[in-house]
């Protein structure tokens, strides 16, 4: 069989295998190069597979030649293809842009370990996305979680340690909950393959264990996805992580958990459990609404760029969950599209923070004042990305807002409430984004503001600027012609509601 058939396997294997090579590199630049090459390969593979599934097809792969349910099956459909593109893209761009930042924040001899952990996190996330086996999801979830603890803990500030410990405890609880849920399902069905579970669930005599399993799995994944009110670990973790890590993790990590959650709930539970879709939406809609507002409020109050972005993530995740909780095709489409658009915007935001920190060491507002005069391009990029966060027409953020609102319109009276919340939070977004814009352009530079603390190498800076421009451009490009991601999102939504994997 030719290599194309191996696509799903390679998608995971390539970064996985290159991780051990990373630690054997003695020179930190070499390790970085390995990481870049691996992510680049993963990204191109993702693009390739996206091409295959864009017409609604599904790529399947039987690991070890054992057909499911006896072996572990891999599967790439529209949804997972979109996710793989997001993940590998985020990793590649963050690595390219972050060369300088990594040198600034990490000790040289630790970098091989760091980048190897990075690759493991990447491989783990990809593995979760691609596999079609309930337990295999757990294994790769653990790879990605452990690896992300490691790379977050590499943050220079000692608060990073506390944040990571909290993340570790809550993450492990979440994973164990998931494991309990899978165990209960396995107890009642005797299989682990998602399709097979979906098939066998409806002739399970007693549904109560399944309900409980649904509960455990949903809560566990919600914990990992930082769905309000289980988000307490996230802001600090994103805030104190190394900037390069924040740019990567914030763009994709939580979305993967959301992906698993939606996939499990819509493909396994809702077709088989009576009235489960109502439980799902009534459980999540209020949480999402609160999350959207509270996250935006805290973001508007915060005095630190990364902190602001982290809290805005809380509210943006709220949008995704809200879209999903409508349990309609339009709603799901908006949710999935927002996964992509938010990845663009938030990844870009943390890139800005990275660049700012390169020059002013920290991302506190007091340090960043007047950035626009010294580094006009970074400031300009922030304006674009900020607009995308707000959802100004012509940017990617607007597309998903539009979809969400038009999806809410179908809901009638409830829709009005939803729309008003969305509108309100957009106004809050205006507040917190514009706070930063004014800070960049109109506030005076603080005297002796620690400017140019590290000598920045030209090529690194050039690379950073290129990536930043690329991301900002993408935010506009996908705001004007969102064709491909939107098409994928639509197909994914249909597949989810079609109830077939």
């Amino acid at each position: 069989m030719n290599m194309i058939d191996h696509l799903p396997a390679l998608q995971v294997i390539v970064p996985l295998i290159s991780a051990p090579f990373c630690i054997l590199m003695r020179n930190h630049m070499l390790a970085w190069a390995v990481a870049v090459v691996a992510s680049g390969a993963a990204f191109s593979l993702a693009i390739l597979s996206m091409g295959f599934v864009s017409d609604g097809a599904t790529l399947t792969y039987a690991m070890g030649g054992w057909e499911a349910p006896y072996g572990i099956a891999l599967e790439i459909d529209a949804f997972s293809a979109l996710l793989t593109v997001i993940i590998s893209g985020a990793s590649l761009l963050a690595l390219l842009a972050g060369a300088a930042s990594a040198r600034q924040q990490l000790v040289d001899e630790k970098q091989p370990l760091f980048f190897s952990a990075w690759l493991l996190a990447l491989a783990g996330l990809l593995g979760i996305t691609i596999t079609a086996d309930a337990f295999n999801i757990f294994v790769f979830m653990e790879i990605s979680s452990l690896a992300s603890y490691v790379i977050i803990a590499a943050g220079p500030h000692r608060k990073a340690l506390g944040a990571v410990f909290k993340y570790l405890v809550m993450g492990t609880i979440g994973a164990t909950f998931y494991l309990i849920g899978v165990g209960l399902i396995y107890m009642m069905t005797g299989t682990l393959n998602l399709e097979d579970i979906a098939l066998r669930l409806n002739d399970v005599s007693d549904q109560r264990p399944i309900f409980v399993a649904a509960g455990f799995i949903t809560i566990g994944l919600a914990l990992k996805a930082a769905v309000f009110p289980l988000h307490v670990w996230m802001p600090n973790a994103y805030n104190y992580a190394p900037h390069i890590v924040s740019a990567f993790i914030a763009a994709c990590a939580t979305k993967v958990s959301l992906y698993v959650m939606m996939r499990f709930d819509f493909m396994v539970f809702q077709p088989n459990l009576v009235g489960h879709e109502f439980q799902f939406s009534y459980f999540f809609m209020p949480l999402a609404l609160i999350a959207i507002l509270s996250g935006a409020v805290v973001a508007a109050l915060s005095r630190d760029l990364k902190r602001l972005l982290a809290w805005s993530s809380v509210s943006q995740i709220g949008y995704i969950v809200l879209g999903a909780s409508l349990t309609t095709e339009a709603g799901l489409t908006s949710a999935i599209a927002h996964m992509f658009n938010h990845a663009l915007a938030k990844g870009g935001g943390f890139l800005i923070a990275m660049g700012a920190a390169l020059y002013y060491t920290t991302t506190r507002f007091s340090n960043l004042a007047g950035l626009g005069k010294e580094h006009p391009w970074i400031a300009a990029a922030f304006v674009v990305i900020g607009c995308s966060l707000i959802g100004v027409p012509g940017t990617a953020g607007f597309i998903s807002k539009w979809l969400l609102v038009s999806a809410a319109l179908e809901q009638g009276a409830l829709g009005v409430l939803i729309i008003s919340v969305v509108v309100l939070s957009s106004l809050l977004a205006v507040v917190y984004v514009w706070k930063v814009v004014e800070l960049f352009y109109f506030a005076p530079r603080p005297e002796g503001g620690s400017s140019d603390v590290m000598q920045v190498r030209k090529p690194e800076m050039l690379l950073y600027m290129l990536v930043l421009g690329l991301v900002a451009g993408a935010n506009i490009w996908f705001g004007i012609m969102p064709g491909e991601p939107l098409a994928l999102a639509g197909q994914a939504a249909q597949a989810l509601l079609g109830g077939s994997l």
């Binding site: 452990l146 803990a153 410990f165 609880i173 164990t176 165990g183």
Partner: protein, 119 residues
């Protein structure tokens, strides 16, 4: 008698409670980690229990020539993996605790919190 048939299940539930409680309630980081491992081993018990078959033996062909009823091997495989995951998590957590101790001079969450508030 349903209740006694599920004895193992109750034990699992109780262990889970104990571990879970000490993860949430204890303020001492090492205690939290211990609770975490307790929490996980409870789940191991759940899996292994459901794999047991009456009158079955360990799923190794020809180890005992008495019977060819085997207990379910699949949960055992899963738990082998899960145990490994558990120890890895514990090791990582412990290393973080060590660093926290060095950075803050304490492993009591409240003390750490105060020290963060100070700066």
């Amino acid at each position: 008698m349903v209740w006694l048939d599920l004895y193992h299940y109750w034990v699992f539930a109780i262990l889970l409670m104990i571990g879970y409680f000490s993860v949430i309630a204890k303020r001492n980081l090492v205690k939290k980690l211990i609770g975490l491992s307790l929490f996980q081993s409870a789940v191991f018990l759940l899996y292994i229990t459901m794999g047991k078959v009456d009158g079955g033996t360990a799923p190794i062909i020809g180890m005992t020539d008495k019977t060819d009823i085997f207990s379910n091997p699949l949960p055992q495989v899963l738990i082998l993996t899960a145990i490994v995951v558990g120890i890895s998590t514990t090791a990582l957590g412990l290393s973080i605790v060590v660093r926290i101790k060095e950075a803050y001079g304490s492993i009591e969450e409240d003390v750490i919190h105060q020290k963060d508030q100070v700066e």
